[in-house]
């Protein structure tokens, strides 16, 4: 899980132009100014590329915290 968390944090840092140190389980659009609905779509796209996974759009738009994102990745991605 730590590997997944690190990769997700790096993706969020890249998309939202923040430091990975700003990312924790409670991180959400409330705590990150740059995390809005448009950048959320961009983040989902980056997650798909990075983890070679397809995110169901209806699920993806509801992933509103860092923890939810990491949990989704852990449940849906088989790490090699």
């Amino acid at each position: 899980m730590e590997g997944i968390k690190q990769r997700c944090a790096e993706i969020m840092a890249k998309v939202f132009k923040i430091e990975t140190s700003q990312v924790n389980d409670e991180t959400s659009p409330d705590s990150i100014t740059q995390w809005d609905s448009l950048s959320h779509v961009q983040m989902l796209s980056e997650l798909e590329k990075s983890f070679s996974v397809k995110i169901n759009p209806e699920e993806g738009i509801n992933l509103e915290t860092f923890k939810m994102i990491c949990d989704w990745v852990e449940d849906n991605v088989k790490e090699g």
């Binding site: 809005d36 609905s37 448009l38 796209s45 759009p57 738009i61 509103e64």
Partner: protein, 306 residues
């Protein structure tokens, strides 16, 4: 003076969606009294037009459903580089013929005129730049009436004008009539025509002093034919308010413009000239960045026939 109806809708939105709570807070933090008064009035009118008593929760939910739809379509667009639909029949089957969905749709779309900065800027361009050019009397029409907000303002501004509302959706036509009534305007000043504008334009040639085509063209499979045909319905002295957008995925968008020059070329090919324009990008990015990145540019213009 407070804005209790706006506050109620904002509270409902903020409770249900983190993203929209943030977006709405952003616009309110920068709002002037003109915006607040306008937003309050629109919500009061929508409440009246919906006719179910206090409907702030429903209005907020319709707006959130609309924004969710846009996000889903954006995800498709980002991957595929095109709009999901490529023909009007599918749009009709999925959306325009579904009365319940259409009601939610037009209410949600109406709220974007308040809560999306680019849409509100187009409203202001319409109110402050277009409407002063419209004669007080004469003949007007709107094709694709949607929520009715623009039509109400036309009738308020040009107090002797008589108009025709044209739409393929009876729900849109009904909502617009109800919004007109909610604006305390005599409904007898308008007549209603249900029509697929791609098959029939129920207007006389050279009859129009004013024509409203707000976010119509991107919904059509035969957009070029329609805009060319509508040119014939205008008086030489008449004005048309035309809006569209580049790279703007939505569940019923078909005609994709990828650049401003594509839009301008389209208008010119259809026999119109551009008198004035307003453009707006998401997050105030440059036009170059918007076009390179495939992001939405909202476009409004005042056009007349060549």
């Amino acid at each position: 003076m407070g804005y209790p109806n706006l506050d109620k809708v904002v509270n409902h939105i903020s409770t249900k969606s983190l993203f929209q709570k943030k977006a709405v807070k952003n616009i309110l933090d920068n709002a002037d009294s003109k915006y607040l008064a306008f937003a309050e009035e629109i919500i009061i009118r929508l409440n009246t037009a919906i006719g179910r008593g206090e409907s702030h929760d429903y209005i907020a939910t319709a707006y959130l459903d609309y924004t969710k739809m846009i996000r889903l379509e954006e995800m498709y667009f980002m991957k595929e580089g095109k709009y999901r639909l490529d023909n009007f029949n599918d749009a009709y089957e999925e959306i325009y013929s579904q009365d319940g969905h259409m009601h939610d749709y037009v209410v949600g779309l109406g709220l974007t005129q308040i809560f999306w900065p680019n849409h509100y800027e187009i409203v202001r361009f319409y109110l402050d730049t277009f409407l002063p050019r419209v004669k007080d009397s004469g003949i007007g029409a709107e094709v694709g009436v949607g929520h009715g907000i623009f039509h109400c303002e036309l009738l308020r501004s040009a107090q002797k004008i008589r108009t025709t509302l044209i739409d393929i959706s009876p729900v849109s036509l009904d909502m617009t009539k109800k919004m007109i009534a909610a604006t305390n305007i005599d409904e007898n000043r308008t007549s209603v025509k249900i029509s697929d504008i791609q098959k029939e334009i129920p207007l006389k040639d050279q009859s129009l002093d004013v024509l409203l085509l707000g976010e119509l063209i991107e919904h059509l499979q035969e957009g070029e034919l329609v805009l060319s045909a509508l040119a014939k319905k205008m008086k030489k002295s008449g004005y048309c308010f035309f809006t569209t957008a580049t790279n703007a995925p939505a569940e019923d968008h078909i005609l994709l413009f990828r650049s401003l020059n594509e839009i301008r070329g389209f208008i010119n090919r259809c026999g119109w000239q551009i008198n004035d324009e307003h453009v707006g990008t998401i997050k105030r990015m440059s036009l170059e960045d918007a076009e390179k990145g495939g992001h939405t540019i909202n476009y409004a213009s005042i056009i007349s026939i060549k």
